[in-house]
């Protein structure tokens, strides 16, 4: 029984990672695929249902309002959204780990400043902070990625700091200090490897959250700008035609769902259920 239970949980994680990997590979391969031009308009195919055919070709997933091939748009959208999300997670991961380890290792005013900044950021709901800063700083893809990254470091930072606080008192760190090792060396060689696994777990969960945040912003018209497609933007574009062709809004949502579910599967596999706080330490964002 115990073995069966164990292997079932494993299956979740394998499925989740396979899903994420498949999407990442597909997104990377989009330019190589034999897809139609995602910008070419054909009014005959406007709002065409999936599998619609014209004299010359098949629209596998139909067409959007302007008659652009939907499969091509969706593939490009997935590529855009994934690219932004992966880069944003990378930024917040590096920033959060660095700031958290510095705060926990040096303590004192540095720690107070860093953690104060983190607390302040948590006082403003993440979506709102993103909306306001995207409104002010603009929403080019680069800026969007940067803003998503800058607003998401606190989760990493808090845990990295907490772990650094206990690691810095451990014998191997103290021994290194007595032998004249620099703080930088200690953080890099002793602290970083010890916090890395936990940071990876947070990153796998945060990835799904960032995908949703990017989609929400683009849905609201504050993220990726047309004619470039993104998953959230496509859902927005489809909302007008919900009665005529609901697929336009449904399909991109399914992709987001798969990405978030994959990310949850993976992160859950490595989060002990027995912690007993019911996942409290990770209040999700909307």
């Amino acid at each position: 029984m115990k073995l069966a239970k164990h292997s079932r949980f494993h299956l979740d994680a394998v499925l989740g990672s396979a899903l994420l990997l498949a999407f990442l590979l597909m997104a990377l391969a989009v330019p190589l695929l034999p897809l139609y031009d995602p910008y070419e308009q054909d009014l005959m195919a406007s709002l065409a249902e999936p599998l619609a055919t014209s004299a010359t070709r098949t629209y596998w997933l139909g067409g959007d309002a302007l008659g652009r091939d939907y499969l091509s748009r969706l593939s490009l959208a997935a590529r855009v959204s994934l690219g932004i999300s992966v880069a944003a997670v990378g930024i917040s991961l590096v920033m959060g780990v660095a700031l958290g380890l510095i705060a926990g290792f040096f303590r004192g005013p540095v720690e107070a400043a860093i953690m104060g900044l983190g607390d302040l950021q948590l006082a403003i709901p993440r979506v709102l902070l993103l909306i306001a800063s995207a409104a002010v700083f603009g929403s080019s893809i680069g800026m969007l990625t940067l803003l998503l990254g800058l607003t998401s470091w606190v989760t990493y930072g808090r845990l990295a700091r907490a772990m650094a606080l206990s690691l810095r008192e451990r014998e191997f760190v103290l021994a290194a200090i007595t032998q004249g090792a620099s703080s930088q060396w200690n953080i890099r060689k002793h602290l970083l490897p010890n916090v890395a696994p936990n940071m990876a777990i947070i990153a796998s969960f945060e990835f799904g959250q960032v995908v949703v945040l990017e989609a929400s912003l683009s849905y609201l018209g504050l993220g990726v700008q047309p004619p470039l497609p993104s998953l959230g933007l496509m859902i927005n574009e489809g909302q007008l035609y919900l009665e005529i062709n609901p697929w336009i809004s449904i399909l991109p949502g399914l992709v987001i769902f798969a990405l978030v579910a994959g990310s949850q599967f993976v992160s859950q596999r490595f989060t002990p259920e027995s912690r007993g706080d019911g996942g409290l330490s990770r209040v999700p964002t909307v």
């Binding site: 993440r126 609901p246 809004s249």
Partner: protein, 305 residues
């Protein structure tokens, strides 16, 4: 107790000052509003006069001080598009957002308690897994897409409920359900964990020993002890709900603060954007404070720590 209250209030005050500072930075980073405000044929002198009137010719630190002083008096500037105060516009929309947030909050908490008690009385582990799986699936669905799916099903296909706007209680059903179910999985897990923890206590064994039935022990003995952490978590998440209203309001054309903010962004009406964001955050900070203080009143261990 008093020192705990004082410390906590001071901390909230600092956070509010920090949030306002973020607002100042955002509004200054938005650039010179004079170009947006004046008609195209305005002269350079007009622009200079307007800058002076708005206090934009002062050094930055004086602008900051007057921004903070105004903010403390409840003034976050005038809307660029409508000749009223930005705070006034937000206050006008606040009841709609509050209505949505509280309805969603109530739906989430009632659903969680109802489901958990039913599962507990039914006592089937398999059923519990199914319910939790459904709740987790909901959590993996972005809120705005879930709202669209509900519109598609209940408004477009079945024509049972209105999709857009606010007015009758029927208008509230879909948006509140959309928002309220998001954190169901979190609530269910917390309830499960707290019940499991409470069941190990002596008073539960005593209750069973007295011959009380399972349902009675659950409802009369354990439930009151589980309420506290549950209400705390839900109260703190009211802030998360407030953030979630932005997207939900846009999907359902709900005339609340979130929709106001999104519309103001597209009109580049920065004072309204900043006022909306700041006031929502302030509500969040104050709610956190109230929940913390309530917790200390209800549980003496907190204030002694």
């Amino acid at each position: 107790m008093m020192s705990f209250v004082a410390k906590r209030v001071l901390q909230a005050g600092l956070t509010i000052a920090g949030v306002l500072t973020v607002g100042f930075i955002l509004i200054r980073a938005a650039g010179d509003p004079v170009a947006l405000l004046l008609p195209e044929n305005a002269t350079v002198e007009d622009a200079a006069r307007m800058r002076a009137a708005l206090g934009l010719d002062l050094p930055l630190w004086r602008q900051y001080l007057s921004f903070m002083a105004d903010a403390l008096r409840g003034d976050l500037g005038m809307s660029f598009r409508q000749q009223t105060s930005a705070v006034g516009l937000v206050l006008e929309r606040l009841p709609a957002t509050m209505e949505l947030a509280f309805a969603a909050f109530a739906i989430g908490v009632i659903l969680a308690f109802g489901l958990d008690l039913m599962l507990r009385i039914a006592g089937s582990e398999r059923l519990r897994k199914v319910v939790l799986w459904v709740a987790l699936t909901r959590q993996a669905i972005p809120t705005f897409w879930f709202g669209l799916l509900l519109i598609l099903l209940f408004s477009v296909t079945l024509r049972w409920l209105p999709a857009l706007g606010r007015g009758t209680p029927a208008h509230l059903v879909l948006p509140a359900f959309t928002l309220g179910t998001y954190e169901l999985a979190l609530y269910l897990r917390l309830l499960e964990a707290s019940f499991r923890e409470q069941e190990t206590h002596d008073y539960v064994r005593t209750a069973y020993a007295k011959g009380l039935g399972r349902a009675r022990v659950m409802l009369r003995e354990i439930l009151p002890n589980v309420l506290l952490p549950m209400v705390t978590l839900a109260g703190l998440n009211l802030g998360v709900l407030l953030g979630g209203t932005v997207v939900t309001e846009t999907v359902f054309s709900w005339p609340g603060v979130g929709r106001l903010i999104v519309q103001a962004v597209s009109q580049r009406d920065y004072p309204v954007v900043v006022a909306g964001v700041l006031m929502t955050s302030l509500i969040f900070v104050v709610l956190n404070l109230v929940v913390d203080l309530l917790y200390a009143v209800l549980d003496p261990r907190v204030r002694l720590a």
